[in-house]
Symmetry: C2
Subunit: 452 residues, 2 copies
């Protein structure tokens, strides 16, 4: 079996299929795209059937539908559940895109589109590896697919769906392509994911925008107060000040910190790639440790008052922010959520009204490297990239992975093929075509190894 040859001889069809997914603006955060969610789920169903699934169907949840598919080779064989998501992030700011976000373009060895990597491109690697494994008769396991439509907004409805369909989703391991490697020449498998907590804050001062000359000085300004409250969350050493925030944070072993320290990392190149003069963060941890094994606090968005051209003096009525924490083992996102809400209410002055709404959250996740499926994945990377992959914890969050562990009792192996330069969640998202092809080779080899 030569996977590369198969890819070469089906190159155009593969691209056309992937493009058909990328052209659907399945933005889960925006309700006006509800119809696109349905369309995208149906397209996935059709592609799964064409790839060799015995059955595939679009199934409702309380939120966007999920796509379920399966290929049962033999009931006595172990079962792999492939998880991916068909939803994508919003595309603003649109003016920074060099191409249309939902009109995929192949250029400079890359595929450019919203979702090119996250997660339509990576999910498609799984789909095509499955097709090849089926067509080439490699499968010594059963394969199920669960493709959901709300990963970017916290997978609403998916936990309940899992609980309702425990039998349908029964499996031995979950396979996910939704993470990044350290670099094209440094294959790696993500063995840890950070958790997430997310809130929206609304601060109300006076009941209308006021003249800042007439009222300024006596009436609290909601933007001033919001900035003060948010500035207090992180101290000058980069520590988060919420009481008990670090109580449950795992103390990572010296051995694991050494492994992270071995990851090739060039600070000058890292800074140059994002054009910053200096890095930032918590005192006592290396830059990579700060993104991998330590929790963070980021203001994802803020707005209020006059934001047009020129200078308008105004004491505004409202100010808003969207804020999030990345969490690490064993922080519980619901406990952290409550801590933050308590903190904000405790520091909010009486002169403004403050409302904190928790949005989606999720637990962190750790994958043991002695799992048979992990070993099979390692073999896949070795074949595709010519090197044994590093096992590294990374900073991103896929909250549903922790939910799978809790509800289905099954570990996930994160066979991700993204790169940091893919600009996921940003304008000009892209995916290296070399990575896409090597990804398919690695997953086919996973199937070849798994079940032996």
């Amino acid at each position: 079996m030569d996977t590369k040859k198969y890819i070469d001889s089906h190159r155009e069809r593969f691209f056309n299929e992937l493009f058909s997914l990328l052209r659907i603006p399945s933005i889960s955060a925006l309700p006006e795209h509800r119809k696109d969610m349905q369309l995208c789920a149906e397209r996935w169903r059709d592609l799964l059937l064409e790839a060799g699934a015995d059955r595939a169907e679009v199934m409702p949840t309380s939120a966007s539908p999920v796509v379920f598919a399966e290929k049962i080779v033999d009931r006595s064989f172990p079962t792999v559940l492939v998880y991916a998501h068909y939803d994508v992030m919003p595309v603003e700011p649109l003016e920074l895109w060099h191409t249309e976000p939902f009109e995929p373009v192949v250029k400079d060895g890359k595929l450019w589109a919203r979702g090119a990597d996250d997660d339509k491109g990576q999910g498609f690697i799984q789909l095509k590896a499955f097709e090849i494994a089926v067509k080439e008769g490699l499968l010594r396991c059963n394969v199920k697919f669960l493709i959901e439509g709300g990963e970017e907004i916290g997978s609403p409805g998916v936990e309940a769906f899992c609980k309702e369909h425990l039998d349908l989703l029964k499996c031995d391991v979950i396979l996910v392509s939704d993470t990044s490697m350290v670099g094209l020449d440094t294959p790696s498998i993500t063995t840890g994911l950070r958790g997430l907590a997310y809130w929206e804050i609304e601060v109300t001062g006076p009941n209308r925008d006021l003249h800042s000359g007439i009222f300024g000085g006596t009436v609290a300004n909601p933007i001033n107060e919001l900035c003060k409250m948010l500035a207090g969350v992180v101290d000058e050493n980069g520590h988060i000040t919420l009481p008990h925030f670090y109580d449950k944070v795992e103390t990572v072993s010296a051995q694991e910190r050494a492994m992270l320290g071995a990851v090739p990392y060039d600070e000058e190149k890292y800074k140059a790639a994002i054009d910053v003069e200096a890095l930032s963060g918590e005192v006592g941890y290396s830059p990579l440790e700060r993104t991998a094994i330590r929790p963070t606090f980021d203001i994802c968005g803020i707005w209020g008052g006059y934001t047009g051209e020129g200078a308008k003096t105004v004491l505004p009525s409202k100010a808003y922010a969207k804020v999030s924490c990345r969490l690490v083992p064993h922080q519980n996102h619901e406990e952290i959520s409550k801590m933050f809400i308590d903190y904000i209410y405790s520091v909010a002055p009486r002169s403004v009204k403050v409302k904190v709404s928790p949005m989606h959250g999720g637990e962190s996740y750790v994958c043991p490297i002695d799992l048979p499926a992990y070993r099979a994945a390692e073999k896949g990377y070795e074949l595709a990239f010519g090197k044994r992959p590093l096992a590294v914890r990374r900073g991103g969050s896929i909250p549903i992975i922790a939910t799978f562990e809790k509800v289905l009792g099954v570990k996930s192996v994160l066979m991700g093929f993204g790169l940091e330069s893919d600009a996921t969640h940003s304008p000009n998202e892209n995916f290296l075509i070399e990575m896409y092809e090597k990804g398919i080779i690695a997953v086919v080899e996973f199937y070849n190894q798994f079940g032996h």
Copy 2:
């Protein structure tokens, strides 16, 4: 002479004339309204000629044109220069207006429109008082008009215009209707105005929006940093922390503080009107003192990152804020501007790029109450409102008034007829028709007294 009778018999024409000004969206902050500025200036010119000016013309400046007009009764008489502005504030947020901002409506004894008070309505009081004084042969002074189109954005071009036309603008006192009274039953003349300094801040982190999971913790978040820098400007006692900020602040005499203390003020009503539970501000000063004789720091607008619906995790590239200080005698707005810029640059971490752009500014102003023109104004209020007006310092800023004093060497008397409920700079700006009529009576009486 009965001014009231004159107003009554010309009521409809007066309204139609004022409406013709209010219908022009002369928003100085927005470049797309440049043509409206010209139209509004031309309308003012025509109305001034119709009201009795010997000459009136639209004259260019480096920014919006000004309207100059004059009525020379006798070269040996003293000369009054009436100042007003034909530009208005932006109207956002539009959804909060109950009527169209540029389609004036009379309802509940009030006139509703952007500019109904500030400053088309108040400027119109001056225009009609002038017309009556001319028609009734009351003028024992010469009258000049300078109507500008950039007051809301710091009067660009007007200082240079004054310097170029010193002879044309020669006068003995300047009369301005662009301030508020304490209340309809508490006539007052503003004798002090705060100054203003205004800046826009741009904070740049990474060169693009980043995935907050992959980069968060190690790459500085520009919104976090902006909030921290701004939160540091005011301490927990409401004091501004910029070094030397208070060095030149006038220590107001116990006598003047006592006068401010005598202004009728009901804190519960004040809070209820704007729906806040508690007031805020600098320790050691009463609420009215905080708005009148103390400087402030307000964030007028802030924006950055994801501000759409739902929860998007992002480490944004940019964050912005528009911030301003109200200043008091004898703070110099250019010195204060430099202090703020120095402060921000001194606290900005190397992990972000920070750019602070000073926008418009202006000095504070104090009017002596023994000025003959002030005495004439007092008489005008007494006739119109039946009570001697209080002399009070107020919190607003009209930077050009201090410029007039510096460039023309002439004091201004602020015959203002607004009320705090007029919602200037806010949605649903309005002007009490009773106030408008009493204002005309007061200014006609000013002319009757002045020159005696």
